[in-house]
Amino acid sequence: MIILLVLGYVVVGAFELYMWSDRPWKKVLAYLCTLALAVTLTVIVVSSWQIPVPQPLRLLENWVKELWAGGGQ
């Protein structure tokens, strides 16, 4: 299933790149990076790895919670 999905992404990516009129390397790189992100997420979800969602703003959240004691969830 994972392989199929990844293959699907590859096909879509290749197809889109093929349709571009010009391919400056910067654009291609950006495109491939974002596509790689999509593939990674798909693999995470489909293979049910329990990877926690990163919370970069946890500190701020704690601070807000303290300010709104009882107000948070």
Binding site: K26, A38, T42, V53, L60, E61, V64, W68
Partner: protein
Amino acid sequence: MRELVPDLQSMALVVIFTLGDSFIMALGSRAGNDIWLAFLLAIVLAVPVIALYARMRSLMHGESLQEGLATIYGKWPSRAIALAYSFYAWRLGSYVLIDLTSFIESISLPTTPRAAVATAYTLLALWAAKEGVEVLARWSVVMIRGVYFILFVAFAMLVTEVDLAEFLPVLYDGFQPILLGTLQLLDVPFLETVVLFWVFDAFVKPDSPYKVFLPGFAIASVFMCLIASASLAVLGAEQYATNYFPVFVATSRIDVAAFLTRLESVVSISFGIGGFLKVAVCLLAASKALAIGLGFTDYRFLVTPVALSMIPAAQWLITDMMEAERIATKVVGSSEVFFQFVLPLILWITAEIRVAKGKKNSAST
């Protein structure tokens, strides 16, 4: 390539976006039966913040979003800001997507895989985002009539079921619940408008941003207030707060001559329309901001991968309906405060200073 959208069309986009998928959730449920007060307070509080977004856009008038940001904040800071908001829009889009799919799953299609529904909506959003904001705005103008017609008819038929006494006693538990309800409302549907900041390329006139954002927001929020209050008056505060989709349940009470019944499915259609537009706008904003952040002038080539990443992200960020509801009706979230209020405030102050300085410089030279 700058896309100019007539003000009224942009306004329709703002209205549907603000209404979005949220109106079907138990908005402001913390306020109990004082929900209308919470709504009024939230609207009053949200207007200055939205005016702030509009002010920033109007400072950039005459330039596209990318150029405007660069002239005010410089090249690298503007890119960093854009990347941050790209993340925010992407995450918001994923949340909306999961709301949409969980709603459909729990109401009518229990065995259809969530990913299938999400994929269908995302593909449409992908196409819409590639067409650009001009087409989306036109689309909203066509759809807004349908959405309003449906909701208006549905709620007109609910009038017989409405019991205004449900709003009594006013302020039984004091101000705290209202404040909590207000924060709920500010956080989730109201200040998400910040995403729209990244969608429009340019505006027709310098005061267009005000004309687009403020009336659009006002129409949608007042309408939402009416919907929520009517639902509460039908269901009672207890039922309103304890159902996932109180508006849906309220409209299921419609029974006109035992023939015009089961209108809740029709209401869920307008929910689907609003939800789709929100996904599409978030996708557009995320790709546009990402393109600006990476220094490209054209955003269209990034739409496909961003859209494809939203489908798994939706299921990664939230795995169940309870979580989806918690996020849609939570009191306040740190990242939301940061992106909706703190960062715009900082940006606005900086922008005012820079623009004032720039004017002084150009006046002296």
